[in-house]
Symmetry: C2
Subunit: 119 residues, 2 copies
Amino acid sequence: MSNLALGYDVGRAAAAVCCRPLGEKELSAADSERIAAMFKALSDPVRLRLFSKIAAQPAREACVCDIQDVGVSQPTVSHHLRKLREAGLLESERRASWVYYRVTPGALSVLAGLLSQAA
Amino acid sequence: MSNLALGYDVGRAAAAVCCRPLGEKELSAADSERIAAMFKALSDPVRLRLFSKIAAQPAREACVCDIQDVGVSQPTVSHHLRKLREAGLLESERRASWVYYRVTPGALSVLAGLLSQAA
């Protein structure tokens, strides 16, 4: 992604510092705040579906023009994508007339690792 | 857990039917509703911390009497535990004077599998 990327570093920061699986060690209050914000972004059905549409694309990247068929208005789609970006789950980049979104590297694996069962 | 268990079957139902990793296939609208409800239960920092306290115990089970030190009132703890139970993430059982909570078998692995990266 170029230096035009609009994404936040929340997801990458979480990947750097956090977390051992929930089955191994309880979360600190600070980690709970950060991780709960990521879960909150996935807690709306339309937002989760938008995120899954992007995650299922090659390179986990999609033009906003290709993911709008989720039964809500375009401004609502934009609102949900912004929430996902603010939580660090997506990064975005403008290319000509369209904005492209991609899954923040490491964001999914942070959450998956957290939820994975201890061996 | 005995036949006194108060847990819901949401988590077990989700485990039975859902879902391939987000990186492989986008979620249906119906699966998005069900899974978003589980993420919503984890989207509050105190609730997430309570859940992590239980998940980190041997057998992923704890007496409510041992997990109340999260800086909120006892009724608030009860409220959060009820939300986690309603989402299918916890099951509960009364033993004498205390209620015990445990992580619904399969609930964590459903979410972890969903978030895991495609190989």
